[in-house]
Amino acid sequence: MDRAFSWVAAFPDEVWEHTFSFLPTDADRNAVALVCRSWHRIERLSRRKIFVGNCYAVEPAAAVRRFPEVRAATIKGKPHFADFNLTITDWGGGAGRWIQSMAKGWPLLEELRLKRMVVSDDCLEIAARSFKNFRVLSLASCEGFSTAGLASVAANCRNLKALDLHENEVEENCINWISHFPESFTSLVTLNIACLDGEMNVSILERLISRCPNLKTLRLNHVTPLEKLVGLLHRAPQLVDLGIGMLIGEGHPGLFSKLESAFAHLKHLKNLSGIWEAGPLYLPAIYSICEGLTALHLCDSSIQTPELSKVVSRCKNLQQLWAMDLIEDDGLIAVASSCKLLRELRIFPSDPHGLAQPVYLTQYGLLAVSSGCVMLESVLYFCRQMTNSALLAIANNCPNLTCFRLCIIEPYTPDYITQEPLDAGFGAIVELCKDLRRLSISGLLTDRVFKTIGASANRLEMLSVAFAGDTDAGLHYILSGCKKLRKLEIRDCPFGDKALLDNADKLEAMRSLWMSSCSVTLGACRLLAKKMPRLNVEVIDENGGGSLESWPDDCHVEKLYIYRTIAGPRTDAPPFVLTV
């Protein structure tokens, strides 16, 4: 066979390997691996990074065997809707089997990133002891471990550069885990422990920071008295990314100027995040660094519009702003006129269940930003009212949007002026923003919007739908269109069997489909599973578990998760998750 491809032998393997190193994406490398056996061999032996979007799509041992020289692995577990408690508590996503295979097959692994997985302390200990060159550990939205597990990471990973814990649920049973970093340990570049909210021994932290001259990212946990923060900042003037934890200010006179001077020393600071409960009086302490900021995340803070506006108007170089809706339209208008380089805006609801007075954040705020910030690419916006005309204007203003997630908090909310569905508005978004890769829709929506999305959203990779549509046609439009769709998550829509069965092949071209509170029956799931052996069709039954065979075909399926896999049905599913 290789006779026909003798040109392959014209160069030594190292040359091909070097050539492949310029390929930007895994998809390109996958394509290269299909050309001939030699390239397949050379590519697999030289692959250094692997991304597994669904931990159940492939057996860990198989992945490790195919790519024996991997140095960096990223693995994701639970479906996205697990973030909102839509899956059951012990759904799965355990990292154990992956860590065991990796420990055996990739002893030189340097970087491990896990998202939405269940990671036990044992896993952390195995990783810490098995990977001698471990440099980066990143856990995002994970659970199952405690600070005791972190202690073993600290104690054993001599060259650790990054410990990045993002929004994990961590049991805090080892208060001084930070002290397990040995005195000789100086390599830390990133320390993100914002998700830990227990007490922390600040002087141990101070000593650690002092001996790590390359520390660039420091995101602290919740309880940091202001005086202590000042001390920490003085020890790390080289910081680029700072998360300040919760500042509790007991006002004593010199504190403000100390804080102000500490911030002024951070000449390289680009990212500022965290909770701010110190009160508006202390906020001016950060004015001196505002101009250098490219990212500002104040999503847990209760700072209100006037103060926030004063901050953002000084942030002339801001590219990323995450804030609470307390910023209001006025604050966003200030953003629109001051932050001309803004690329990403995320606005979160301060009062998601509408228990208090509503804030004055409407479609005007987003409209203003879309009008003033020509580089805007990514939007996440929670609000209570929207109009088709505003959406159309936003689409016109920002044709370069790649991510547009709009959540109108009350389901089925129409255009509040015309009372029409928001089909036209979202239609404009997908038709005018040709590079749109991620979309979340909300409000009152009919099947029409799905027709437009299916036809126009040619680059769309992820779509989230809730409380929308009239009939199965909606789902059919999506599955038969949207050529690049990888992830689809749907809740509370009248979508059912026919669309699924008619588009079964599409499901294998996607990573996963989540449907909950729709109109799917068990019979359709059975047919689908039979037709598509490389899909896992999992139904979640919270009421009983037990034997699937006995249930009738017309039984309603409340929660359905379908994903492609070459690993077959998973063996670690709890009793409430049944693979059809």
């Binding site: 508590t89 506006s309 269940h353 809740r491």
Partner: protein, 232 residues
């Protein structure tokens, strides 16, 4: 709901589309400046009254228009997982009521959160519960049973209110598989149910579901009773 239109969305509503037609020059800005959006805003929502149809300076009322605060919406039954925010964002979300500083009546409506972590021995996951959502031990117990589906507290939760003696507490523990304990403000671990609910809700920092036998062995109950006697 409007009937489906035959032509595509461009023809849906001309008054809307007069504003910011695709291909029109320049950015389509907010109402006041270009006069663009004001056309469509014949029926204004409350926010239009506030802004008076133009950009307002931060912190100023536009043209002295009174901020007509709409009445707070009635409490709604909450849909699971909606709105889609990570349940991770918690306690620090401040109540709006203190900000819209007007009625005292509203002050109590603010969503005061008191989330505490709940761990269960042997389970690889933690959960968080908002203690302010429950008004007594029974409700908390039922919620936890739902959350940790294989746990039953026997009659523990139901009769927690009636528990007055040590003996009774121990009886209940023998009867059920799991015991619910909590860490209080002082860092001590106590059995749940010994003190009046408001006191518990205030001082609880985290919850832990232990195997019933462990709880007895540690002998927390007597200490808890002592503590509450001292406090009461």
């Amino acid at each position: 709901m409007t009937p489906p239109m035959e032509h595509d969305y461009m023809g849906v509503n001309d008054t809307e589309l007069r504003l910011g037609l695709p291909g029109s020059n320049g950015r389509v800005a907010d109402g006041g400046a270009t006069g663009g959006l004001t056309l469509g805003c014949a029926k204004r929502g409350f926010s239009d009254v506030i802004h008076g149809g133009s950009f307002s300076e931060a912190g100023e009322d536009a043209g002295g228009v009174t901020k007509a605060a709409p009445p707070p919406p009635p409490a709604k039954t909450q849909i699971v997982g909606w709105p889609p925010i990570r349940s991770y964002r918690k306690n620090t979300i401040a109540s709006n009521s203190s900000k819209n500083n007007n009625d005292d009546a509203d002050a109590k409506q603010g969503n005061e959160c008191h989330y505490v972590k709940v761990s269960m021995d042997g389970a690889p996951y933690l959960r968080k519960v908002n203690l302010n959502r429950y008004s007594d031990y029974k409700e908390l117990s039922l919620a936890l049973e739902k959350m940790f589906t294989c746990v039953t507290f026997g009659s523990y939760g139901v009769s927690a209110r009636e528990m007055t003696t040590e003996g009774r507490v121990l009886d209940l523990l023998q009867g059920s598989e799991h015991a619910l304990t909590y860490e209080d403000k002082d860092g001590d671990w106590m059995l749940v149910g010994d003190v009046p609910w408001p006191m518990f809700a205030d001082s609880c920092r985290r919850l832990r579901i232990m195997k019933g036998s462990d709880a007895i062995g540690i002998g927390k109950a007597p200490k808890a009773m002592e503590k509450s006697r001292i406090r009461n």
